[in-house]
Amino acid sequence: MAIDLTAVEQLATDQASLKAAAGLAKAGKWSGVGASQDGALIWGECAGSGANPYRVMADLRDLGNKCTCPSRKFPCKHVLALFWLHVEALLPFPAAETPEWVTEWLGRRRSTGSVPKLAAPASDKDLHAARIAEPEPVHDAKAASRREAASARRAEDTERTILEALEALEQWVRDQLRLGLAGFVDDVTARCRRIGARLVDGKAAALAGQVDELPARLLALPTGDRVRGATVELARLVLLARAFRAAPRDPELRRAVASAESRETLLADPAAPRVAAAWEVLSEQVRTRRDGLVSQTTWLLNLTEGPRFAMLLDFFPASAGRRASVFTPGEQFVGELLFYPARSPLRAVLLQREAAVVDGPPLDWPPASAPLEAALTAPLLAEPWAAERPILLPPGRIGFDRAGAPWWQPSQGTALLPLAGEAEGLLAGTELTRAAALWSGSRLELLATQTPWGRIGHG
């Protein structure tokens, strides 16, 4: 299955792709590189700008390929770089059992029966010219200080704009109380859209996103619970606005109101904790948001030392189509995460993932955070603007009340937690020795559970 550089060049849609690929064809950008036993398939994970690495796979027999990045170029720079690594033997591709995600892709290719055609050869493409790195911009001390001053001014402007938007938000909340929450619940979508637009104008994009999702969260509650729900949701907005006003430079609050730091900023931030540990992929949630973005949230459980949970969050445009999963729920891996600095760090990006997954039998889940009552309330009290927090529950099982609604019930103790969604099949018919879930203060959303029958995933 030997391919050569010419084939890779011909595959590229333009010179820019090749150039970008050249930058990625470095050992440091890649992890989990491997090839099938028969040498027909190659794959690897390439760090991109998102929290999740991109999964790149290719079939050397017909150069068919796939990448999980949102690029509309086909093939994208990651695929080209993978080919490149292989052709030039820049990295060893150890023979390994084909991962599930590669097999899945192979199955979809077969079913549609499409054999990717080679791109028409374009002229004037010189791979080696493309590999010559761009010259580094020359440093100029004066220009640098000018840039710094300008960026400080911009930051101040932004802060002022945000504070004005928060003023408008508080006034809007007062109006809702004055006009009555019954009317608010009835007209929640339109009212939230108006203030959401104002917040976007006011550069409070993250907060606008929260307000956008508020109607969906509220309408998911039983009718009788919606006024209480509206009180909680509006209070959360006020708490966040007040927290931001008290400390506008706090990175955690800035993230919750405006936007998250870029990966580059985060990498350069000495306050961002790096945690190398063994992780289990609990679940992956893909949601289409009202603003047309799709959010992809991967929940990880730390099986060793350090923060108990990690959340990898990425956004991409819905128009980019369905994206393949980046992780397989249930898989365990050793890797290093970089957490966004926070009082209790949760959101993170994946820095490095070791080629070999955890050796030997799967690691056991750690014991539940005790005591239950404190574990449920402490995170929400410490971070009152958070809509939900992950939690590890002690042994329990699912029961049903007279109305048929499912509840999680601990084996010891009396706390009953209402479950979001349905519970059927194995989940309802066995002991849950451990459960990882999201707790919103009023609903429990299971992510994954351990049972005598083994692990069960949800969602």
């Binding site: 097999t103 006024v227 209070a235 099949g425 018919g429 029958w453």
Partner: protein, 467 residues
């Protein structure tokens, strides 16, 4: 303290629901925190109430919360974890119930079950008996069943319907007389659906000893029970004979002699003049017993199988096979199966009528004949089901054709995926390994998802004792 404040929040929420300021109703404990500025106090009250309601006030269930019982552990173990992803992928492909059934039968034949996290049967779904305990668990919404090991008149009611049926079938296999005695006592108390299913189990080891029970059911309230009892009587050779209907049906056919010595008999159907005639003939084939038909033609039942003009009229063949399956003895059914599978062109509809009456080994025998002729694996699968015991499966005409189709895959000679799946369900473990070796030589890569069934087969140990 928190409870007292929660109680005090009632009037606050009422006020906000309607609209207006709730500060005058605020809990006294918070008055200092709220301050004196009216519009600021409103927001502070909202922040405090919201946080209290959002973190400290967990909703209460309606009435008592009851857990369901544990899902029963089945008599055969679930698939090992390493093989479950592959089984899940196969389940995705086999969504249609009869196709899924072949996979379930395959696993059953090897002595394994699916993992309840991957699949659970619905109550009433047609699945191998090993899953009966799960069906009853689901039907009873998880109330634990305290079924004892053996079925008896005393333990009858402690079984769920599916488990009871499975236990009854097992008892009938072990001890037909005791099963008969149990049914005499219990059948009257069962609903018509269950009466039919229990009566169907009586077909196993049917003998003259079952005559009195069947006669007593000839007057059953439910027409289906009545018809089934009559058909079982007919299998014992006690069908109604010499009646007008049989004569009418016989009149649609001519019996001729042929061969050198004019000793072989052949049936020639009369030409049908009108659609009405045709449908009358069909109705009679559906209603009469096999023996009665043979008698009216002046033939023995065995002679009738040999004399039937197979392959002339697909509908008549199918009705004839159904007639045998319904009312003929085991030997006649086996003869019909043989007649239907020796022919080069197999009529799957006619064959499908007879298959439920065959034992697993008879089914395999019936499948091997066409397999060594030139039937495809998919056709053989419809005969043998998820047998998983056929050796040297790749060294057959179907295997050769499959390898050729894979070689010429670009030429698009149909999709080999279904043939690969069927092969995986039919082959023995050794045959699956052998097939995988051949396919690897052809250039198929091991991770090709079309090989999932073969790879599951090759990896799955046979837990059943060899017969």
């Amino acid at each position: 303290m928190a409870d007292a404040i929660l109680d005090a929040l009632g009037p606050v929420l009422t006020r906000w629901t309607m609209g207006g300021s709730a500060v005058p109703n605020a809990p006294a404990a918070w008055s200092d925190a709220l301050g004196s500025d009216a519009s600021e106090a409103e927001l502070r009250l909202l922040a405090l109430s919201g946080q209290l309601l959002g973190t400290m006030a967990i909703p209460e269930p309606t009435g008592e919360v009851r857990p369901l019982g544990d899902i029963p552990v089945l008599a055969r173990p679930p698939l090992p974890d390493a093989l479950r992803p592959r089984a899940r992928r196969l389940l995705q492909q086999l969504r249609e119930p009869s196709a899924r059934r072949t996979l379930l039968d395959f696993l059953d034949a090897r002595g394994w079950t699916l993992h309840p996290g991957d699949w659970m049967p619905r109550p009433g779904e047609d699945v191998p008996e090993v899953y009966a305990a799960w069906q009853d668990w689901a039907a009873a919404s998880g109330s634990p069943s305290f079924a004892s090991e053996t079925l008896s008149a005393e333990s009858w009611d402690s079984f769920g319907p599916a488990a009871r049926h499975a236990a009854f079938t097992a008892l009938r296999r072990q001890d037909p007389a005791q099963a008969n005695a149990l049914l005499v006592e219990k059948i009257a108390g069962e609903a018509p659906d269950h009466r039919v299913r229990l009566l169907e189990a009586l077909a196993i080891g049917l003998s003259d000893a079952d005559g009195p029970l069947l006669e007593s059911l000839a007057g059953d309230r439910a027409p289906r029970v009545k018809a089934l009892a009559a058909a079982l009587m007919a299998r014992l050779g006690h069908g109604q004979s010499g009646d007008e209907n049989a004569a009418e049906l016989a009149a649609f056919f001519l019996v001729q002699s042929k061969g050198l010595l004019r000793r072989t008999r052949a049936i020639v159907p009369q030409a049908m003049k009108t659609p009405a005639q045709r449908s009358r003939r069909s109705a009679l084939l559906e209603a009469l017993s096999f023996d009665a038909f043979a008698q009216a033609l002046g033939l023995s039942s065995a002679e009738l199988v040999g004399a039937w003009p197979w392959g002339n009229d697909a509908l008549a063949d199918s009705l004839f096979a159904a007639m045998a399956a319904r009312s003929a003895g085991d030997a006649i059914v086996a003869a019909v199966a043989e007649a239907l599978t020796t022919d080069a062109a197999i009529d799957p509809h006619a064959l499908a009528q007879i298959l439920p009456r065959l034992t697993p080994s008879q089914r395999r025998q019936a499948a091997l004949r066409p397999l060594h002729a030139k039937a495809s694996f998919a056709v053989v699968l419809t005969i043998a089901g998820g047998d998983g015991g056929i050796d040297d499966a790749i060294r057959t005409p179907a295997g050769t054709a499959l390898l050729a189709a894979l070689k010429a895959e670009d030429a698009r000679q149909g999709d080999p995926a279904s043939e690969l799946l069927a092969l995986g369900l039919l082959a023995s473990r050794a045959a699956a390994r052998q097939a995988l070796e051949h396919l690897a030589e052809m250039g198929l890569i091991a991770s090709d998802p079309r090989l999932d069934m073969l790879r599951l087969n090759a990896a799955l140990e046979d837990r059943r004792p060899t017969e």
